[in-house]
Amino acid sequence: MKRRFSTLVLTCLFSAGLAAPAARAVDVYVSAAASLGDAMKEIGAAYEKASGDHLVMNFAASSVLARQIEEGAPADLIFSADEAKLDDLDQKGLLAAGTRKSLLSNQLVIIVPSDSTLGIASAKDLTYPAVKRIALGEPSSVPAGIYARTYLQKLGIWTAIQPKVVPEENVRAALAAVESGNVEAGIVYKTDELIAKGVKPAMVVPVKDGPDISYPVAILSESKQPAAAKKLEDYLESPAAKAVFVKYGFIVKP
């Protein structure tokens, strides 16, 4: 008897859903890189108003997001801070074909606590003995950490710096470690430094010297709301969204 009743309820719910598919507001699950946090929250709020859809945002290091999606976490759209994570997902058949595009770029910046007196002005200065600890994203998985490692390797100082590295779970955790003053320096994105309190930039890595930073977006093949996800993906390229990205310091790709 109980079972029959729940079947009835489910049938009602389903038919109600099927009857008005176009008008119904849907939940769109967005997995976005930690560095996109503030920009995506602002864009998301505007998008929710305009579209009526509800966005469920999950911010973490892109490596963590990719791992969650591999393990079956619900996601309709992924906005990663590097291409490699999407390559992995693509190889596993988890990306919807033809939906992947690179939207943004960023720059690395070496930061120090606001009250730092060490006079760090370049990457080479990070090799000073007075610089005991340097916060990075985990340098083998977190994109910000991989970019930082690539840059330091290019300069030939990675082996000198590696023992000082405090690997953090995502770029915002690296930023927080510098803000707290418990490390002498850190490498984060320019966009993180711009919203930070308690840190000052020691050196902004010029685009031409730094690694090629790319933020690709894609819809996942297991998305339950591919149409709504597509609408959101298109919105991310709208002038309104681009203006927000630029405001937060991102480089919008043409």
Binding site: E70, S141, V165, V166, P167, E169, A177, S180, N182, V183
Partner: protein, 224 residues
């Protein structure tokens, strides 16, 4: 097993042993005090000691980070006066483990002291023994098994600590990365086989510690 795994195991055992040894004298003394009948502020002390047991470990870690960080009251002093770095070093791991496992030792040892027959202590006193002598020759030996059981429990807790450790010591391979932190890290990196190997190690160590503790408690209960 590869050298990296051994390094993680020996680091974990090292910091767990060190933190347990550090809390042992303080914990036993406090447990004895708490087993004495009512004194002013006793229930307050009891509550404060139990806090790390019931608070989210990450919250405890945050408190430790604020206290021992470079701008924190204790951290600043240690760095300025003694040149000792705490946060993001093995010392921070030991502090996190000590604070997190302290209540387990104190609570178990307190019960053990409470179960010592007060008449035996009274008899020792009437025979002329001072308080210190009563403690070392009567109370402590009689509560011994319970204290060892509490120590093992505290040690087991220290082996598996995660939340407070990651807040105050970070997850630095070769320095602060204990078994628990390494499991988490390896799962995130997709190195499942390493994670499972460490998982097996931690199950074995926790099993041994808890089983040992249970065994001692049961023998104590059975004793007349």
């Amino acid at each position: 097993m590869d050298p990296e795994t051994w390094q993680i195991i020996s680091l974990t055992l090292g910091v767990a042993v060190l933190s347990t040894v550090l809390i042992l004298p303080v914990g036993v003394a406090l447990a004895w005090l708490l087993a004495r009948p009512g004194w002013r502020g006793k229930s307050l002390v009891e509550t404060v000691v139990a806090l790390p047991l019931v608070m989210p470990p990450v919250a405890t870690g945050l408190i430790l980070l604020e206290v021992f960080g470079r701008h924190g009251p204790v951290g600043y002093w240690l760095e300025e006066k003694l040149g000792i770095d705490v946060v993001f070093t093995w010392r921070a791991v030991v502090i996190a483990l000590a604070v997190m496992s302290f209540p387990l030792l104190v609570r178990t040892a307190r019960v053990a002291f409470q179960q010592v027959n007060p008449r035996l202590e009274q008899i020792a006193r009437t025979l002329g023994a001072g308080e210190l002598r009563v403690f070392f020759t009567v109370s402590l030996p009689l509560a011994g098994r319970g204290i060892v059981a509490g120590t093992l429990l505290a040690f087991a807790r220290a082996l598996g600590e995660f939340g407070a450790t990651i807040m105050v010591a970070g997850n630095i391979p070769g320095r602060t990365s204990t078994i628990a932190l390494s499991i988490y890290e390896n799962v995130l990196l997709g190195h499942d086989s390493t994670a499972y190997r460490l998982l097996a190690v931690s199950v074995a160590m926790a099993f041994a510690a808890v089983w040992g503790s249970e065994f001692l408690m049961r023998r104590r209960a059975a004793a007349p």
